[in-house]
Symmetry: C2
Subunit: 299 residues, 2 copies
Amino acid sequence: MSILVVGSIALDTVETPFGNAQDSLGGSALYFSAAASFFAPVNLVGVVGKDFDFSKIEFLKQRGVDFEGLGVEDGETFRWGGRYHKNMNQRDTLFTYLNVFKNFQPVIPDHYRDARLIFLANIDPELQLDVLHQVKGPELTVLDTMNFWISGKREALEELITKVDVLILNDEELYELTNIPNMYDSAHELLQQGPRALVIKKGEHGAVLVTVDQYFLAPAFPLRKVVDPTGAGDSFAGGFLGYLATCKTIDAKHFRKAVIYGTVTASFTVEDFSFNRLREISRKEIEERVETLRNMVVF
Amino acid sequence: MSILVVGSIALDTVETPFGNAQDSLGGSALYFSAAASFFAPVNLVGVVGKDFDFSKIEFLKQRGVDFEGLGVEDGETFRWGGRYHKNMNQRDTLFTYLNVFKNFQPVIPDHYRDARLIFLANIDPELQLDVLHQVKGPELTVLDTMNFWISGKREALEELITKVDVLILNDEELYELTNIPNMYDSAHELLQQGPRALVIKKGEHGAVLVTVDQYFLAPAFPLRKVVDPTGAGDSFAGGFLGYLATCKTIDAKHFRKAVIYGTVTASFTVEDFSFNRLREISRKEIEERVETLRNMVVF
């Protein structure tokens, strides 16, 4: 069964201490698709401008990403530019040209509407709500967002949180949402609002899965070299949902493994710019890192 | 077999968002002893002033901490005052009165000198070197230090690093020592200088054990409430060495479990001020948290 993702397609210009990339393929929906497509077919809904070079996403088509939901509008594709600091944990946004993304109104093609799994990548929460109105009772809806929407569209976001099954967010976003300094208290506060599970991403410190009755503590995959962190979060979500798409039932045990698959898939993304690593690896490399990680946590 | 610890005994005045404590029992050697004594007898070498109230450490005597190496000098006991920020990750030192600790010259009693396990708590690296000259071929020597010595006594510290088996330090200290931004690169650089293992403490993000051929990634124990982080690092070392003291051989597998015992023991320390939690719990509670933690990492 396919996964539906709604999000951005961007051309990123990124500077990191290890180099830079100009107008390279990026955006939440693409990073998600590249990651999830190791596991299951993906249906993508997004928008690009007439300048978009479709040959660049041919490799994703070959991996089972369907682009029928990708609109092409008059104008230019969304562009983002950023510069990472030396420690890679902080970045400055150099520019954001929304271009055709500014008026993005997701329209879910009919044959995408019965998706079993849905990823609402980071876009305006009002649009995310609109997507939920267009689909037919998915088994699992996973939401991503960012601080921009937490402060700017809190009401829509709060409504969304009552309607989704899993919330993926980082520790700062969690704090901004609840204003509760303790991560676990924060998580339990949000769980009371509806989601079955929260996945709190802590970057190089791993991720924590919180449900009403358990915690799962996942480390980050140890990397000697991080070249470009862009897309790590969406690749995480892609590995997470991709793995769940392979499971007949979605239970606590599978959530745990999904967090690990998310972690590992993201660990490849950050080893190079754009999709360079995700393009060259196969499912086999992912499975190997999952086993390596397992060996690093047993005691 | 006893563990030998050389370090400070202090009276701490601590303010945290949850309250404060005045002239309460503290210091690296005491926190270490309180933690390690759940597992094995501890021989302590340190110094206090004539103002020190020995009735306060009676509970440690009863747990098998030997204070024959605790000198009593004319003057007052070392006092430290600090205030933690709201997020508990940062603190300001309000005062440091070294008092009798200023002229501390560790003298290891004869019957302590054949210790199998030694913890060199955070004191002047020249004194730590002097301790190593007084003991007879221990099986395992574990070193702690701090940024103050890394910048102030680098040469002595570098000599020490070539002589100890395990280095316990936090991620900032690691970076300051090597000036290499990647944690794993940093760790391998230090391992080349002699130690068998490095334990990198990341506070609420857990700890990483690095040896030449493996990583072990340990999460922190999830806590809904951290009341006072003071002593967490030394309690970690106490649980770490305490557990190793119960092992016939000290190998990679035992190092891993030792990290977990350190993590768990420290998780109790921070739940209240001073030794309040370590005083009331027993080995049983530690074992229970170890099992809880194990359940939180399996996938």
